[in-house]
């Protein structure tokens, strides 16, 4: 049975006037910045005549600057003061909604995952909430599955969760995570009003779950409520820098997103609550025709599910004010790049859905943004290459354009325009972060990050690190895009969580090709276009140092730099998780409860 949008009883909710105004202003700013950038470049480039390379460079700088400006706009919209009073958060009403927490897992470490579940269960119980928890296993390895079952028994014993904490393992993992959740809803969805969808590394406070359920209950049109998960548990330099950025900058960017997206908000696949009947009627994903990477299962299913809920007339909202939502992040550049490879394929697959029937215009724009998040790296690389080519092919200046001239005519020096262009582009990258620091100092938010001075140092260090690793990310993303476009399916391998520091040898294995590419590019430019060498150093030097950067940033950082509130004062659910995990790891015997104790009444 399939459902076409024409048959749907409801249509996507229109954006209100305020959202439309904010979208118009934001898009106008991005286009204006792009226009200024391409004008500056054209001004510098056309002095020796216009050729095809100048046109290509103009188009590339327009698109890439528009993308950067769009990112900056999110922060500016997020920083704008709130108009009107905040409505008080609703309280949960009686009868309480029937809740279930869904934890889809696939080849995860069950001890850490189930310890998180035990901590969340404790926190939810402490809030007086009644909620089931369903562990939905797609694990293929039989040894891992046995360990899951053993650890499940320990979880049941720990939580006294018989009859409310469930475990089921699918025979086949069709549709991966989306298919896993779909199977649960088809079989058990009728028993619940709301489902909190988590990842294996998610951790949520019971208070946050209660707040989400109350908000869903108070707004019958709200189909999905997404929280902003904060990264916790990072240890490496890279991981803690990301953890800091997610804690310090992301709330502002997310507030900007909230204001821009209106009723057509995002779904990031986890730490979000869905209305089960809305999800059921809207989100059974089809397989796309043709083979992967563009056909087959929809990999980045969350964006599509958000678009489908909106198509079905449900509101999809992100709410950065709900605290107590956590996840873990990659600990080194390599695992970040591996995750990016998966996301890249998933997002590029959305090119098939840009013209899907009935989808809201903003949902299409969100698909386009996701595609551009990866294409933009290829465009930056193309811009650098065309700049070198244009310089090589530029005609030799004619110092005596008229016959019988006594004095030479020197071409105008356009260094100012190029410098202004670079400063402008850097400004779009850096200004939002300093603006957020300024806001955080003004509102005393920096106090939770060790004070304004320490937060300032952390912001500067994070900008320096981002600048250093940006050329590496550009190379990894360009490679990922080219792989997908050439038809290589990267699959959707299980996450590698908790990986440690990388050795220099591992750094060389992962980054040697970047080092060689950077070295070759620098040598070539120094030979054929020496004037450009200095300009390319900020890109080529980090590439030359790629293996060292990969290894060095994966090392533990115990300094107070990048301090986040959760490190100083962990939330109760984090403390509870660590206590349970510490205890379970100290007693590795998987004491198995008796079958009677785990029997679930029919």
């Amino acid at each position: 049975m399939s459902s076409s949008p024409r048959k749907a009883a409801r249509r996507a909710l229109p954006a209100d006037a305020r959202t439309k105004l904010i979208r118009t202003l934001a898009l106008s700013f991005a286009l204006l910045a792009a226009l200024v950038a391409s004008t500056l470049l054209a001004d510098a480039a056309i002095q020796d005549g216009v050729d095809v390379w100048d046109v290509v460079r103009g188009v590339l700088i327009f698109v890439t600057t528009a993308w950067l400006a769009w990112g900056a706009t999110l922060s500016f919209v997020g920083l704008a003061p709130r108009v009107g009073k905040r409505r008080p958060a609703p309280e949960l009403q009686s009868p309480a909604p029937r809740l279930v927490v869904l934890v889809p897992i696939c080849n995860e470490d069950p001890v850490t995952t189930f310890a998180r579940i035990a901590a969340m269960d404790r926190s939810i119980q402490a809030e007086g909430l009644a909620s089931d928890i369903a562990i939905l296993s797609d694990t293929r390895n039989e040894d891992s599955a046995l360990l899951e079952r053993q650890t499940y028994l320990r979880l049941i014993r720990e939580t006294h969760g018989e009859g409310r904490i469930f475990y089921r393992r699918r025979d086949d993992n069709r549709g991966r995570k989306a298919g896993n959740i779909e199977e649960f809803i088809r079989r058990s969805g009728g028993a619940y009003d709301f489902a909190l969808i988590l990842d294996a590394d998610s951790l949520m406070e019971g208070r946050a779950v209660r707040e989400m359920a109350a908000k869903m209950q108070a707004d019958p049109k709200l189909g999905l409520l997404q929280t902003l998960p904060k990264i916790i548990g990072a240890r490496s330099f890279f991981g803690r820098a990301m953890q800091f950025a997610a804690s310090f900058h992301s709330p502002i960017f997310t507030r900007g997103l909230e204001r821009l997206q209106g009723n057509t908000g995002p779904f990031w696949g986890h730490n979000a609550m869905v209305r089960v009947n809305a999800f059921a009627e809207s989100c059974a994903l089809p397989e796309l025709a043709g083979p992967p990477p563009f056909g087959g299962h929809i990999l980045s299913h969350d964006y599509v599910e958000a678009a489908l809920l909106a198509r079905g007339g449900w509101r999809v909202q992100v709410d950065h004010t709900i605290s107590g939502s956590f996840e873990e992040g990659p600990e080194n550049i390599l695992s970040y790049a591996k995750r990016d490879r998966r996301w890249c394929q998933g997002n590029l697959q959305h090119s098939r859905l840009l013209l899907s029937p009935g989808i809201a215009g903003w949902s299409r724009f969100v698909f386009l943004q996701g595609i551009f998040a990866y294409l933009v790296s290829v465009l930056w690389a193309a811009f650098l290459i065309t700049s070198v080519v244009a310089t090589i092919l530029a005609p030799v200046p004619n110092y005596f354009p008229e016959p019988h001239m006594l004095f030479p005519v020197f071409p105008d020096d356009r260094t100012k325009e190029i410098t202004a262009l670079i400063v402008g582009i850097m400004g779009l990258l850096i200004l939002p972060k300093f603006a957020i620091l300024y806001e955080a100092s003004g509102t005393r938010r920096t106090a939770r990050f060790g004070g304004s001075v320490r937060a300032g140092f952390s912001v500067v260090a994070e900008i320096l690190l981002s600048s250093l690793i940006a050329p590496l990310m550009l190379m990894y993303q360009t490679k990922a895009v080219l792989q997908v476009l050439s038809g290589r399916d990267g699959g959707w391998p299980a996450n590698q969580r908790g990986e440690g520091a990388l050795s220099l040898m591992e750094g060389f294995r992962a980054g040697l090709w970047i080092m060689l590419t950077g070295g070759a590019a620098l040598a070539l430019v120094a030979r054929v276009a020496p004037d450009l060498t200095l300009w390319l150093l900020p890109v080529c030097l980090p590439m030359l140092a790629a293996p060292f950067l990969i290894a060095w940033t994966s090392r533990p950082l115990t300094h107070a730099l990048f301090l986040v509130p959760e490190e100083r004062r962990p939330a109760p659910v984090i403390r509870s998780y660590r206590e349970i995990l510490g205890r379970w790891q100290a007693e590795p015997r998987a004491d198995v409860a008796s079958p009677e104790a785990t029997h679930v009444p029919a």
Binding site: T112, L147, F166, P286, A289, R352, P357, S486, R589
Partner: protein, 70 residues
């Protein structure tokens, strides 16, 4: 911070071996009634591509992209 709390592959293996030593497999097989309640909900398959476009998009992509025969 989470120092020292990460379970290593070897400790997982140890735990698994210990579990097997305890001959828990029979226990585990006996306790399979862990499934969530049965309360079916219909989930209609969604349409994301119009039929005509369904055929044309892959062909267009293969025409544009390298490495794919049309």
């Amino acid at each position: 911070m989470d120092e020292g709390l990460t379970l290593t592959r070897s400790s997982q293996q140890t735990e698994l071996d210990m579990g097997k030593d305890m001959n828990t497999d029979a226990h585990l097989d006996a306790a399979q009634d862990w499934l969530p309640p049965e309360a079916p909900l219909e989930m209609p398959r969604q349409v994301l591509e119009r039929d005509s476009r369904r055929a044309e998009w892959p062909r267009l992509l293969r025409l544009i992209l390298p490495g794919k025969a049309v």
